[in-house]
Amino acid sequence: MAATAVAVAVSVTGVATTSTAAKTIRATENASLRLVKKSGSLFDHRGTVTGTVSGPATSRIRLKGLSLDGTVTVRSRNGQLRIRIRGKARSGGMKPRFEGTATMSGGTGRYRKAKGNGRFTGTIDRSNWAASIRAVGSLTY
C-alpha cells in the first residue's frame, strides 16, 4: 500500500461562554491526514488539523465494511484533544464519502476534560488511503 496523506482541519465559527469554569464553543475542524501504516482494516495516519484546535495530528481509523470508527488526536500548544469519529460510507468510488458523529473525548492540558458532540464528513482516497475530515460541533473545555 502506498504511503498516504490525511488532512484534518478545524475552525471555530462561534463562541458562547456558559460559565467561568467551562467554556463551550462551536467548532469547525478540518483535518488532512496521510497514511503511515496499514494493518488489515486498521489505518494509522499523521497530518495536521486547522481550526479551533490546531496543530499536528495523528489518527487511528478502522474501516470495516461500510463503517468507519476512529480517533483523531490534535496536538495543539494548549494540549491534546481527542476526537472520536464514527460513521458510514455514503458513496463508493475512488474517494468514498463518509458521514457520522464526532465526539470530543478528552485529552491533555486545557482539553483534559474536553467534551462535545457534532457531526463529521470526510473522504478517504483509496489510491493512497489519505483522509480528509471536517467536523462541526460543540466543544466544552
Binding site: 482494516s41 474501516l63 470495516k64 465494511g65 461500510l66 463503517s67 458510514k88 460510507a89 455514503r90 458513496s91 463508493g92 468510488g93 475512488m94 468514498p96 464519502r97 458521514e99 483509496r126
Partner: protein
Amino acid sequence: MLGALPGATTAATTAATENRPATPRATPPSPVSFTARLGSEARRDGHGSLSLRIAINPRRLNATMTQLKVYTPSALDLAMSGLGLDECSVARERFAEVMVSTPSPVQCPGNALIATGSARAELRFSTEEVLLAEGAVSLYTGASESRDPGLVTIVESRHPVATQLLYAGNLFDAPRPYGVGILIRTPPLPAMPLDATTAITRMSLTIGGPSVVYTRRSGGHDIRYQPSSIPIPRSCPRRGFRFRAELRFRDAPRRWATAYAPCPRR
C-alpha cells in the same frame, strides 16, 4: 460469469428456506436456491473472486421478484477490495424506464465494474405462453443512492429480443454476523413492448475475477490490470463463510435462503 471460473472447484452448500418453515414432515422443496463459492484462485490471507447464484423455480413459485438482497459475511470485506474505483452515473428516470432501447445503451466506466454474470427471465404472455429470455449481467458502482453507496445493474439481453435493462441498487450495512449487503431492485418492467410480464428466474454474479479488468494511466500509457478482489482472512469458519439472500416478490411472501462458501486453500 460463473462459467468464467473454470477451476472453481469448491462445491457450494445450499440451504434454501421458506419464510415460515413447516413441520419437518411437511416441508416442501424450497422454490429458491442460493449458492456461494470463492474462485479457484482464492487463497486464505490473500484475495479471491466470489460467485453467487440465485435461482427461483417458477413451477414452485410463480411470482415476480422485485428485490434481491445478499448479505455477505463480515469476514469477507467487499469494501476493502480494489473493486469499484469509478462510479457509473445513470439518470434516475432511466431506471424508471427499466427497459432502454439498444440504440443508446448506457455505458458505464470500466473501472466501476464490480461483477459480471448472467440472468434468465421468463416472459409470461399468459399462463400457457412463456418465453425464456437470457442476458449478461454487469454490476457497477453507482452514484450515491438514498445516502448509501449506489449500484447499477445492467442486463444486456440477447434472446428473444436485444435490450438493455437497468436496475438500481445500493450497498448497505448488514446486521451481524454479516458485513456488507448488496441490494438490487428489480421492479416489473413497466413498458414491455411484448406485452408480457417478466420474472427473473436465475441470476449469477461473480464479484471480481478474470472478467473484471481495469485501466490505469502510467507514463502516458493506459495499462490494463486486474484489480484485487475480495480480501480473504487467514482463518475460516468451520462450515465456511455464511451468506444470506432475501428475495421480495410482487405477488408472494418474502423468501430467504442461506449458503456457505467453503474455505479456500491456504
